[in-house]
Amino acid sequence: MSGKHSDFDELRLVSVTRTFGGATAPRFAALQDLSLVVRRGEFIALLGPSGCGKSTALNCIAGLLQLSSGGIWLDETRIDVLPPERRGFGMVFQNYALFPHMTVRKNVGFGLRMRGVPPGDIRRRVDHAMSLVQIEGQAEKLPGQLSGGQQQRVAIARAIVIEPPLVLMDEPLSNLDAKLRIETRAEIRRIHRELGRATIYVTHDQDEALSLADRIVVLREGVVQQVAPPHEVYSQPANLHVARFMGYRNVIDFDPVPDARVGQVTLRRQGMSLTGTLRHPVNGGRLFAAIRPDDITIGPAQTFNSLPCGVDYVEYCGRDSMVDVSVPGGVKLHVRTSSPVSPGDRLHLSVPPERVLVYAADA
């Protein structure tokens, strides 16, 4: 298996489904009908909250979980029938899973030893991988003697040294502190650029997904919500759930609008009205507007698409502030602004209609 597929054109997931449970426990679908095509060199992020099925999907691709239905193809080869040791994918685990009894060098070289690569080549390739992740100085140490960040880099080196067609990463940064997370994120980006290997990256952190991915797959309770490049997921979330997850903290429900059409729509509820943009047809029912805190302007003047508000609380964030306001109708909103405001001020909010995204209710 090794070397035969060191490069590929497509990894195809077709209706991949994984259910748990059976005779004694109620069946529940951790993953439902995931279909995705990953192209050579692409960086895909699987994004979603805990329990959305992203780790399940990764484990199915790795071969650590069997599919309940569906299939996975690497070009023309069907791989979901193969055990993990025959798939040849490199995997980086959330808690690194370094072999505690082996030195860094032996850890990194493990995959090559399993493949029967000659010792001279092993040494050369391990040295190269260690220098790529900048861990050369720790070659003879045991994992227990390394810091979290160093262990993480060893785990990455171990996965890429086998030159796999696909690299799988399961929330690799979640155990690192904030500063280290940002640094290691840059490392991962750099390594991906240098090696150009297709990568599938699981995370619950939207910042990671936005900064690393070519395309983001947003999952919720096992079902795909949206597959799109980062800027699209960020500014045009496909539904209310994705919007909430991507930081559209302000969600206001409005009265139904009969015969609402795609395009601009006037939203009304007790005490206020707003103009928003509807992207997909809806089937009646209440409408929900999602607005990013940074898309709202707060100031003394009343302008188009504006609401009067009272400032409740100002949370200082350094570069700007997160301001909690109350608007008519008993609605509370969050606004991110660098204008100086204080609690008790009576001001006006305004937001461009194209940044008020209108959706039907969450399923």
């Binding site: 650590l64 040791e85 690194y96 072999f99 505690p100 399993m114 227990g144 979640s174």
Partner: protein, 300 residues
């Protein structure tokens, strides 16, 4: 072992805070300490000193007697020949079974319970059962003869084999539970990581589990060996105590209760302890060569 972090500087001394008074909590140790002293340390020291006070001759004459008497010193080898293989067999059986049962499943509890039943039986009951079922007129012999697999009755009792079998039966639950606890302590994600790197199940066992188990296996060996080395009822009931299974505890018993030579008996007991100590020491020395740190895969 493993990464332990001690806070620099701050060690709290309860005792120094209270001056010269002893922390009353230590008094809770008294019952156990007394128990140990009265029922273990004192008899041991008494026996040790007694072994140097023979009925006649110099202070080492008991030991000289032991090592020159052809009915005494060979018992060391006899017992080693019984205890060694019995322990090795137990380990060899326990490892694959514990490996199969390492994943929590419905079967794990049931199979574990069944495998552990012999611990409740006691050595004498096991011996009695073996004599009945595995003896020359027992059902095993009769069944095998009836289907013509063998022509003569089986000889599994009143010999070396019988004692080894009995030690395996009575010692297996203990070894199995120990090995099972070591195996389940190894983070299963390590085997998964090895799999993604191309290791098949055998390679996962050989490169991941076995090295991490080795220190634990050595400990299990030590404990099981010491237990097996002190074999007595099995050797008498199921063995041939006159010759092939004349173990060292038989020699001690005879010296104490047939020859009424307490100092010699104590001497035999001390030699027995020394041999056990030597084997355990060698095993622990071997253990020092293995990795003994944490068996999880890293942080989190």
């Amino acid at each position: 072992m493993g990464a332990s972090v001690t806070t620099a500087g701050e060690t709290v001394h309860h005792r120094s805070r209270r001056g010269s008074r002893i922390d009353p909590a230590y008094l809770l140790l008294t019952p156990a300490t007394l128990f140990m002293l009265l029922l273990f340390v004192y008899p041991f020291l008494y026996g040790l000193l007694l072994s140097f006070e023979p009925e006649k001759g110099g202070w080492l004459s008991n030991y000289r007697t032991f090592f020159s008497n052809d009915r005494l010193w060979p018992t060391i080898l006899t017992t080693l020949k019984i205890a060694g293989p019995a322990t090795a067999i137990n380990l060899a059986m326990a490892i694959p079974l514990a490996y199969r049962l390492r994943v929590k499943s419905r079967y794990q509890k049931w199979v574990t319970a069944i495998l552990v039943v012999p611990i409740t039986l006691g050595v004498v009951l096991i011996a009695d059962g073996m004599l009945t079922y595995l003896g020359p007129k027992g059902w095993l012999s009769q069944t095998l003869q009836a289907v013509h697999l063998i022509e003569e009755p089986v000889h599994l009792t009143h010999n070396y084999i019988g004692v080894v079998i009995s030690l395996v039966i009575s010692g297996f639950p203990f070894v199995f539970l120990l090995v099972l606890s070591y195996i389940t302590g190894i983070d299963p994600v390590l085997a998964r990581a090895a799999a993604t790197l191309g290791a098949n199940p055998w390679q996962q066992f050989r490169h991941v589990y076995l090295p991490l188990l080795s220190p634990g296996l050595t400990m299990a060996f030590c404990l099981a060996f010491v237990q097996a080395f002190s074999v007595y009822p099995s050797a008498v009931l199921l063995g041939a105590p006159a010759g092939p299974t004349r173990v060292i505890s038989i020699a001690a018993y005879e010296a104490a209760f047939e020859q009424y030579d307490a100092p010699l008996a104590s001497c035999v007991a001390m030699v027995m302890g020394l041999v056990q100590l030597a084997v355990v020491g060698a095993a622990l020395g071997l253990r020092g060569l293995f990795y003994r740190g944490p068996v999880t895969g890293g942080k989190g």
